[in-house]
Amino acid sequence: MPGTYIPSEYLPVLIFIIIATAFGLGALVIGTVFRPKKPYPDKLMPYESGVTPIGEPRYRFSIRFYVIAMLFVVFDVEAVFIYPWAVVFDKIGIYAFIEMVIFIGILLIGYIYAWKKEAFQWD
């Protein structure tokens, strides 16, 4: 049921978040209060090592990024599944091993497929 459990061990995390937010916002607020405000066009320009920026900052990304990101997500999720497995491996024993071999085996086939299709190569 929602509203019956307090994860009290995570109180430090909450305090950390509060302090981090306070620091970030505080620095900005104090900055706006004390700094002199003299804006001119050059100041608003994006900083590109002193060179005048050329072209649009937002250009269309290559679709390759998408493939890479997708593969990353798939293997990310795979890694997530391995973590609880490692924790209980000694409790379940050999069956857990077989289960994970099948799981990784299936994704390994995907890995070989992706490799052979040159999905990891840039072009």
């Binding site: 307090i6 990024f65 998408y66 997708m70 289960e99 299936i106």
Partner: protein, 170 residues
């Protein structure tokens, strides 16, 4: 009282951020608001005694899927995206249906009676640690769904390559 307050905060924040995400004109802003949304969902998991889910929410969603979303947003032409009208012409109809659905759900939820508690009580999970309990369940009782998940991941991978990778041979 304190847990209820936290739940109320997370529930309210999640709904609010969801609305913000779908109403931003700039898709990049949407994605960034979504990051905040994911963190709040993780917080909600934490208060539901699902620590592992909370951590995975941050690692997989905030870390992986959000990056994927950003890449996809970068694939579309942002300038045009910002110019086009946000809503389709029939949005009043959609809105009416959504409100009607909301009322129906609200009405039916009043008769909701929670089912029996399983054997994994808060105390048991505390004594064994969340991840151990989850691991035991996932790799014994839920072994079959776990293996299907690997197939789904494989299809996602093949699908991405089929649809987006430049073909070299053939």
């Amino acid at each position: 009282m304190i847990p209820e307050l936290f739940f109320a905060y997370f529930a309210f924040a999640i709904v609010l951020f969801s609305i913000i995400v779908i109403t931003r004109k700039n898709p990049v802003h949407s994605v960034l608001w979504m990051l905040l949304l994911f963190f709040h969902i993780a917080g909600l998991y934490l208060f539901l005694n699902a620590e592992f889910m909370a951590v995975m929410q941050v690692i997989v969603y905030a870390g992986g899927i959000l990056v994927l979303f950003l890449f996809v947003v970068m694939l579309v032409s942002l300038k045009e995206e910002i110019k086009v009208a946000r809503f389709i012409g029939a949005w009043p109809t959609g809105f009416t249906f959504a409100v009607a659905l909301f009322i129906v759900i609200l009405m039916s939820l009043r008769s909701f009676v929670a089912g029996p508690q399983g054997k994994y009580t808060i105390d048991l999970i505390k004594s064994e640690s969340n991840i151990k309990v989850l691991g035991k369940l996932l790799y014994t009782d839920f072994l079959f769904p776990f293996e299907i998940a690997s197939l789904i991941l494989l299809v996602a991978m093949v699908g991405a390559i089929v649809l987006a990778k430049k073909r070299f041979k053939g």
